[in-house]
């Protein structure tokens, strides 16, 4: 039987949460920035290498600089989390560790992937140096614009959620 899992995408304003989902679900990208108000929900059925299928219900939450202000109602029953930051804007990751602590407190013991988006905007060497300087540990670096590594993020989470079921 196909399982459905609730995945929330969190992060500061304008880090590309909606774009990542759009790229993953519809394989599309738009440069026009549209602010997400409240929450937007999309779905994608993923087939894993094991041939199992899993339905990801993606909750794209509005961006916020104060993560503790995220409505608890949106986080209830979350199965997995993707935390996105913008590699081109240090303000979105300079407090990453404390941000992640807040997330872990609000949604404890759930698989969480940390994703640095917009990698296409920063040269690779500079990017490595930047993240090292800020002592940022992450799971993936992606580009919603080019589609680079986007699929991998969701596939890994889907795999984690499947084994979690």
């Amino acid at each position: 039987m196909q399982k459905s899992k609730k995945v929330v995408i969190l992060g500061h304003f304008g880090v590309g949460k909606t774009s990542l989902i759009r790229r993953f679900v519809n394989d599309q990208f738009s440069d026009k920035y549209k602010v997400t108000i409240g929450v937007h929900i999309t779905k994608k059925v993923v087939t894993l290498p094991t041939d199992d299928t899993i339905s990801l219900i993606l909750w794209d939450l509005e961006g916020t600089d104060a993560l503790e202000e995220i409505r608890d109602a949106y986080l209830l029953g979350t199965h997995g989390i993707i935390f996105v930051f913008d590699v081109s804007r240090p303000s979105t990751f300079q407090h990453l560790n404390s941000d992640l602590k807040i997330v872990a407190k609000k949604v404890p013991e759930r698989p969480l992937l940390v994703v640095g988006n917009k990698k296409d905007l920063v040269p690779e060497e500079e990017l490595t140096q930047l993240l090292e300087n800020h002592q940022i540990s992450f799971n993936y670096l992606t580009s919603a614009k080019t589609g680079d590594t986007v699929e991998d993020v969701f596939m890994e989470l889907a795999t984690l959620l499947k084994s979690d079921a």
């Binding site: 459905s4 109602a73 209830l76």
Partner: protein
């Protein structure tokens, strides 16, 4: 020289002379053993002797259950209820809901009848006036007032996650899992925004459609209705939802207690097949008149 047999015969003769009582006692014991053997082998005879004893024991055991097993049963039940509080509350919710609802509905009906009696005359005049001045005929107006609501879609949704458990639909809509998520987000937002604990969003209205949301502890039921959705329809719909949910929770509780099976320990299976749930939904809501 006397033979061995002669000696034995003489010995027996001597025994007869010396111990006549002993022989009788042996014969008596042998008879008693035969009798006992007969008694044990004949089930009816044995039952007649043993049954009264067993009955006595059983009666005294039954009488003593409150004292002997009572504390253990109470402790086990308490533990089960504590461990599965949500499931138990959820199972009781429709029953209690029905009772409260019936009481309130009864009181409201009395009040409504009183008001109807007062307003009936005015309504009749109003209808006649509307039909006289070129509007629809009085019959059409009456039909419109009486037109019943129709159930278009029913969704059983997990309350926290917004994940769709089962659905029943007459019309085609966009992906039902997305609708479920969005409804849950809207519901969560409204309930959170007004900081009203234990208050639930009950209805969303858009033009000719209404979405009735009936919340329980772990799940909620969303019903999309077209047509004239009024208090009477709501009343009927709630009854159908309560009945369905009661059955659903009964199935759920069965699973909870079945999964206590030690053979399945550690692999708690607590999901009811979607197909089965959808059959239940279709049976409950398919031909329902509200």
């Amino acid at each position: 020289m006397a033979t061995k047999t002669d000696e034995q015969d003489k010995l027996e003769l001597l025994k007869d002379i010396l111990f006549p009582d002993d022989r009788e006692a042996v014969q008596d014991i042998s008879k008693r053993i035969q009798l006992l053997e007969h008694l044990v082998n004949d089930q009816k005879l044995l039952a007649a002797k043993v049954d009264p004893l067993v009955d006595d024991k059983l009666n005294s055991f039954t009488k003593n259950i409150p004292n002997t097993l009572g504390p253990t049963i109470t402790a086990t039940l308490k533990k089960e209820i504590k461990n599965h509080k949500d499931d138990v509350v959820d199972a009781l919710y429709p029953v209690l809901g029905k009772m409260v609802k019936k009481y309130v509905a009864q009181e409201i009906k009395i009040l409504s009848d009183k008001i109807d009696n007062q307003l009936g005359f005015i309504k009749r005049i109003k209808r006649k006036m509307r039909s006289w001045f070129g509007g629809p005929t009085e019959e059409q107006l009456l039909m419109r007032e009486l037109a019943s609501a129709t159930i278009e879609q029913v969704l059983l949704i997990e309350r926290d996650t917004g994940i769709l458990k089962a659905s029943y639909s007459v019309t085609n809509t966009i992906d039902e899992e997305m609708i479920s998520g969005m409804l849950t987000a809207i519901k969560g937002f409204v309930e959170d925004a007004f900081h009203q604990k234990n208050q639930n969003l009950e209805q969303i209205q858009y033009e000719l459609y209404n979405i009735h949301l009936q919340s329980f502890v772990t799940h909620y039921v969303a019903v999309v209705i077209s047509g004239n959705y009024h208090l009477k329809s709501k009343n009927k719909l709630q009854d159908i939802i309560f009945n369905f949910y009661y059955n659903f929770m009964a199935m759920n509780l069965d699973l909870v207690f079945k999964s206590k099976d030690p053979a399945k320990a550690g692999k708690e299976v607590r999901t009811i097949e979607k197909e089965l749930l959808e059959k239940e939904l279709a049976a409950s809501f398919g031909n329902a008149k509200i």
